[in-house]
Amino acid sequence: MSISEATAKEHANDPAVLCCRAEEGTVLTSHNLEDPAIFDDLVDSGLLNLDGCLKIGQVIGAALKKTCDSLTPLTVDTIDQIQETQDNSNDSIPSSAASDSANLTAPIKNGTLKISIGQGTDIHIELPLGSISSDAEPETKLLRCLTRNHYKITEVKRGPKTMIDGTTLTIREGIEADAIASQELVHDLKIDIITPDMYHTYSETILDVQPIATKEGHDLVGTGTTRVLDGVVMMVTGTDDNGVQIGEFGSSEGYLDENIMWGRPGAPDQGEIFIKTQVTIKAGTNMERPGPLAAHAATDIITEEIRQALKKVADDALIVDTQTFEQYRRPGKKKVVVVKEIMGQGAMHDNLLLPLEPVGILGAKPNVDLGNVPVMVSPLEVLDGCIHALTCIGPASKEMSRHYFREPLVLETLFDPELDLCGVLLVGSPQINAEKFYVSRRVGMTCEAMEVDGAFVTTEGFGNNHIDFASHIEQIGMRDIAVVGLSFCAKQGALVVGNKYMTHMVDNNKSEGGIENEVLANNTLCHEDAIRAIAMLKAQMSGSSVKPAERKWNPDIKKNNIELISNVTGKPIVPVENETSLPMSQKRKEKYS
């Protein structure tokens, strides 16, 4: 459709195409030109070929040499004279005049800045006041610390009592009955201890991967000391009475070694032992909220008993590693926030926020019940397991509980001395559009109140949640806050909605074909995505531009960006592997190859 003068100015360097028939002699204005926003669609549909097409700035004011029909790209042959664009007119200043205009002196004497200009046009001077005299860096302020003490486990076995003895974890025999009894909807629960030699074992769909960790004393999640077991994770799997996968809508059931993308923040690492529960819930509850929650709660009976055992470990010599996370305010640095969109559609999509124990259940509130409104947490709370994830659909792009425990973007931003990470804003993704906009407007208002310079918006999954993902970015962008979006998109998850603030986007895709291939955590946010997002946000906050991506998904863009970043930082980045490093499962062969 025809464009306004303002739009024409904005798009002065975009191709000039007639929107409608225009007759010979017509002096072209913006009203004769088609909106460049739809050119991609037109080119795709074969309606338009932009080869040799002049730019909008070159044709406005020119006269048509012949009558042309709608969607005619304007070329040198169709108009009488190419109009000088503003940029060109600056270039065309004769050299002698240019040297005169360069004759500018600005000496500072006796504290007075004097500027004298002999001759010139379009002079623009910006002087930051106040910052000239003081060059002292504002001091950073330590807000809080989190210490993680790691205890190594090399063997998991069953025995009469749940206990940790050296590097051996024993789980009480018969604990299954307690777990089953704790939940009305749980009809059966089986524990498998999967050691590396058993990775080629069939498993029902993986509902969650959880770290086994506990707080010391009365420490709250996100502060103080956390004890965490290395070499072992909890894994929740299950079906309903009829054998239907919990959250069957794209699930990761199959041989474990063919369906887990090792080493992703949310996935198990190679060599780890899985304490895998296989929970059978009441028939038909697999796609409703209480069903999956019951599977998680029953599993947590076991985890909790291990936590209690871990609390009793008295020998500090068993600590194999200690990590300390410090959260600073860095006044004077660019203030940024990480907005994490988490699932909140109800049914199987929920997250338990802020439990008493890392990735626990007790004390937590489901974000669906909180109305999915934004909840501000500290980066250390995220890294200490303040999110117990109840996500199912689309295993490749969903964030497991363990993901938050090792969240790469939070870690990178937390440790970046150039950024002042003020917090992590968790916002649920409701089912209904009206609610999506309700929560995204709160996100915008919160960012405005925090006066942040920049924001990251991340999401998990794709499709429906992209509506609020886009709206979050819009709400932040419209407040003149720099914003970078991170999501799985590629081919299958291509954005269905968009707005003018979605200009800085990072694709979390790792899969070869750009698809959700049901390999656990394959397309989730990794270190290589975090650093690209940070580089983009820094570029945006400093006013430099990021080139628009090509219209069609092209994995080379990511490669180039990673290369650019490692060239600048001098730190080589090896992209993580994808599903091609795994043995090919039958399902993948049939469905995705």
């Binding site: 459709m1 929107c19 409608c20 028939r21 009203h31 739809i38 549909s45 969607l71």
Partner: protein, 527 residues
């Protein structure tokens, strides 16, 4: 002296007398009237005022029921003042306005047989004689005669003429824009003097300085006739319009003639102008000079008729005549038909055979059966130029299309429930709309767009695999016109040369030239 020579003599007299009356005031208008009777098509009333009640020379209309609607115009319906059983003559007042509106008179001689909520039904027969209006003041006569805009808008003319144009323009809408309608052109050819007299009356009433006939350049005969009559009319000129749809939209006329594009919410008075349909001018002349109330309408009838699909024009059809009886007079429907459309192909709507003619009826078109789309997924492109949403949905249903997507032209503004085009006849681009139709899964689209927009739709829709249907297709097919698709002629028309009034003065050796307005001005000064 031959007849033609006699007419020329009379024309000369008209001008002479008109110029005299102008100086002497309205009192002398009676003299003018007798001369006006020489206009062809008006000669059946012999003599002067006293002969009104004489029976007509030839009887075209047989005794039948006439259904005179109480709503003949925009505004609120009138209230009946006649009662069942009352005898009426053409010109008997039968309904009065109960708000913004205009009185309604009987169009025939006969008896009121029934009064319903919506109409007055008269059992009667047409008669060319009529009961004259009593008022003498010209402005009062416009109101008493019940004249409303006869181009289709139906705005009460007396209200429109109450504006003081302070030397501005009366623009005569002679675009006759809708295809197949021909009654306006016939009127210009045959009732020229009376039409011009009507224009001059309006110019007087509204204090206009200039009158302009806006007419399509293709109407050579009508333009020649007008030119002949306008030779000595300093303040009346002709503006030529291209043969496009829509040129007759009120704001399009203002834009084409005066170069001012009005906002959809603005009235022509914002450009110091009013726009009058040619037939309205005729009825004004009749009301003032003959004291004839507005009781008849010129109507074009075309389509699937016995004897050919060409247009038949019926002059002075009594209001209340049914579409069916006019179709019968035109030869009758030829076999199967699709729709009876009242109005033009673009803005008309489907009616039944017993729908009556009103003060705003222009055309009656019988169409061939509509195309069957066999349940195709259909997109509707709504705009101000074509049918409204109800009409488009009506057509979609009749064509057996499943409406899956409705888009509205970017330039169509919703003004109090009616779509108005921001710049009639100048396309704002439609490629995005076509892409949207495609995305919504349409295989076919139904449009009612103007020439320019239709051309733009054709620039993208067929390449996207969308079958384009225009709401005028079944009508144009019926009469053998090429379907509305691509725009082949220019939107620009070269105007006939006119003289500009330029003031120039030389004072103390300095030449001053003042040009109020103009285009392509060349000044050569030998120095």
């Amino acid at each position: 002296m031959t007849y033609v020579q006699f007419c020329h003599f009379l024309y000369a007299s008209v001008y002479f007398i008109l110029s005299l009356t102008k100086r002497m005031g309205a009192a002398k208008t009676l003299v003018v009237f007798t001369v006006f009777n020489t206009d062809a098509g008006y000669s059946h009333i012999p003599g002067g005022f006293d002969s009104h009640m004489l029976p007509p020379k030839k009887k075209e209309f047989c005794p039948m029921k006439y259904n005179i609607l109480l709503k003949q115009h925009i505004g609120v319906p009138c209230k009946a003042v006649a009662a069942a059983g009352n005898p009426v003559l053409p010109g008997t007042l039968i309904a009065t306005p109960s708000g913004l509106g205009a009185p309604i008179h009987s169009s025939v001689k006969g008896t009121v047989c029934e009064i319903t909520d919506t109409s007055i039904i008269i059992d009667g027969e047409a008669s060319d004689a009529f009961l004259p209006l009593k008022e003498t003041d010209a402005y009062q006569l416009l109101g008493d005669a019940g004249i409303v805009g006869m181009g289709g808008a139906g705005f009460p003319t007396a209200v429109k003429c109450s504006v003081d144009l302070k030397g501005g323009y009366v623009l005569v809408n002679a675009a006759e824009c809708e295809p197949l309608l021909e009654h306006n052109m016939k009127q210009i050819r045959e009732q020229t003097a009376k039409t011009i007299a009507g224009l001059k009356l309006v110019m007087q009433l509204c204090h206009a300085g200039q009158g302009v006939f806006a007419i399509k350049a293709k109407h050579h005969d009508e333009i020649a006739t007008l030119n002949k009559y306008l030779k000595k009319e300093e303040h009346i000129s002709i503006h030529l319009l291209p043969d496009l749809y829509p040129m007759g939209e009120e704001r399009a006329v203002v834009r084409e003639v005066l170069g001012t594009l009005l906002a959809p919410t603005e009235l022509p008075s914002a450009a110091d102008a009013i726009v009058m349909n040619v037939e309205t001018l005729l009825r004004i002349a009749e009301a003032v000079y003959e004291k004839r109330p507005c009781i008849s309408k010129h109507v074009s009838v075309a389509g699937k008729l016995k004897g050919g699909t060409h247009t038949r024009v019926f002059m002075d059809v009594p209001l209340g005549t049914t579409a069916g009886s006019l179709i019968e007079r035109a030869g009758g429907i030829d076999g199967d038909y699709g729709e009876i459309i009242m109005g033009g192909p673009f803005t008309g709507h489907a009616v039944t055979l017993d729908t009556p003619v009103t003060k705003t009826t222009g055309g009656i078109i019988v169409t061939a059966p509509l195309e069957d789309l066999n349940g195709a997924k259909l997109g509707l492109l709504l705009c101000a130029c074509g049918g409204n949403e109800t009409r488009m949905k009506d057509l979609a249903a009749k064509m057996n299309g499943e409406v899956v997507c409705i888009q509205k032209c970017k330039q169509a503004m919703d003004i109090k429930g009616t779509l108005k085009c921001e710049n009639p006849g100048n396309c704002p681009g439609q490629a995005q709309k076509c892409l949207n139709f495609k995305k919504e899964g349409c295989t076919d689209i139904l449009i009612g767009n103007c020439s320019d927009c239709t051309n733009t739709v054709m620039g993208s829709a067929p390449k996207l695999g969308l079958n384009v249907h225009h709401q005028t297709d079944h009508i144009f097919d019926t009469v053998g016109l090429e379907r509305m698709r691509y725009l082949k002629q220019s939107k620009m028309v070269s105007e006939e040369p006119s003289t500009y009034h330029i003031e120039q003065t030389v004072n103390n050796g300095i030449l001053t030239i003042d040009i109020k307005e103009g285009k392509d001005i060349h000044i050569d000064l030998p120095l």
